[in-house]
Amino acid sequence: MHESASHVIFGIDPTWMAVSILLVVYGVIMAEKFNRAVLSLLGAGLMILCGVLTQQQAVAGIDFNTIGLLTGMMVIVAISQKTGMFQYVAIKAAKVVKGDPWGILVMLSVVTAVFSAFLDNVTTVLLIAPVTLLITDALGIKPYPFLFAQILASNIGGTATLIGDPPNIMIGSAAGLSFYEFLVNLAPITPLIMLVTIGCIWFMFGKGLYATDDAKALVMEFNENDAIQNVPLLKKSLFVLATVIGGFTVAHSFHLEPASIAMFGAALLLLLQTWGQDLHAKDHAYEGIMAEVEWTTIFFFVGLFIIVTGVEHTGVIEMLAHKTLELTGGDFNATAGAILWVSAIASALIDNIPFVATMIPLIESMAPTFGGADQLVPLWWALALGACLGGNGSLIGASANLIVAGFAQRAGHPIYFLQFMKHAFLLMLMSIAIAHAYLYLRYLS
């Protein structure tokens, strides 16, 4: 495994080379001056050009299960979002509570959490946040509490399932944890975290939310049925979404990886989407959907996997794992707690995707200490809870946060970094405390 570590390249030890590449790439990504996909691909190229990895080793390091699952879900979501079903559900939710502002805040947060659990967080907020602005404009109140609650809800909801958030996809793939296992182990705690978070938001903003009866009546004038753009496509999308999510749930029993199911679902929906149209129209629609896939994210993952593989080959990550275990005294409970809290703080401040990509091999190399890979499962839950919930700690903690902030800015109600952090960081720490108690009671005691 470490055969490349014995060579000396350009007079520089490959260990130092690999670690420097990783640190420089992560550092420049954090500075946010360049596109993160470009940086990760440059770093990956340097790993190969500097001789840390051969191309074969680099390609073997790419987790195609993560890539396939992400791409497949992006295609499915790109098609489904054209049906207007997100807007339909959001408006329906606002009308169910008769236009009451606090009721709308709760309902839209729950809708955001549920959609985020099964689809990606960014798409969810991309579709729900503008409808929220429209509704708060109708109510004549400031959108901040609503958008604030939605940011938290999207990250909490994303924690619940294997496909909810990219860290979970990476963890599930690396550790061989199924969709069903995520559902059974992570989903049960998210409603409690959601409930406590919404409770706190009530104390922070709830009393200030007031709308006149005229404004509430205006919300009731919204016609959710007009939001549905394309009924046949809606049926096809719902059919494929249900099939794919059902497929994820039973995949493990059939020895299928989630990526196969997601990619098959994507291909099926691409086929059904333009069924009966001529070839030219089919090609046109297909190319439109392909353009909506976030290739930047996909290539970012490809580069990142190679960079982390390079560092892993030098044995540095194994060494870091030993250091971590020395610090926790090799105690399993202490290690799980450390992973949870460090992941949460780190994910609040830096991109959680490279963080998790680095943590995965680190945790894997703890297997001998704790008696085999099967014993590591609670540590994976700690990493998933920390990395996903940690995204709520600051405005830059997750991509969805920045998307919502972008909408707020354009609507003339900017969300400020420190203002958000003041409100959100403590709530994030509280959610981690709940997660810690859950881990302790269920897996550790």
């Binding site: 207007g84 807007q87 408006i91 991309l126 503008p130 409808v131 602005l133 429209l134 404009d137 109708a138 205006l218 004038e221 919204f222 016609n223 959710e224 049925n225 007009d226 939001a227 753009q229 909408f407 354009r410 609507a411 003339g412």
Partner: protein
């Protein structure tokens, strides 16, 4: 055929410190779709058009297409509210700062390409090298010049 041969030269213009209300009244009374905004030396600063003003009255998240269709939303009254807020502003605050501008000697093909590719409002201003306004070409002017088929003008000018 060159831009300067098909442009309208007789222009009504406005100045950056005029109010939005004044300019909107001119647009409505004369049924114009656009007014160039020029400085004291007749250099182009921008353009005011009806659609541009309407887009200033509409929330940004609707204008930029974040919501796609909003056929489900009632009239929420903010167009009227925002209109009242905007009419006392100066033209410079709301004008389109990047109108399509073509050179006086550009070909008909080039003008057509500029209209199709860059412009959402079916017109282009014609300016000399110093950006001084010389005229305006609407999409209809291009079509009219095609209808008046005159090979001599077409190929020699």
């Amino acid at each position: 055929m060159k831009a300067k041969l098909i442009m309208t030269k007789d222009l009504v213009v406005c100045h950056p410190d005029q109010t939005v209300l004044e300019v909107m009244n001119i647009l409505r009374e004369k049924s114009f779709r656009v007014l160039p905004v020029v400085d004291e030396n007749n250099k182009i600063l921008g353009a005011v058009n009806m659609l541009g003003v309407l887009s200033k009255l509409t929330p940004e998240y609707i204008v930029n297409g974040d919501l796609k269709s909003i056929s489900y939303a009632p009239d929420m009254g903010f167009l009227r509210t925002h209109y009242k807020e905007i009419i006392d502003h100066k033209v410079i605050d709301i004008m389109d700062k990047n109108p399509t501008i073509v050179g006086e000697n550009e070909s008909l093909l080039s003008v057509t390409a500029a209209l199709i590719t860059f412009d959402r409002f079916e017109y282009a201003f014609v300016a000399n090298k110093e950006n001084v306004l010389l005229g305006i070409i609407a999409a209809s002017d291009v079509v009219r010049s095609l209808a008046q088929f005159d090979p001599e003008v077409l190929f020699d000018a």
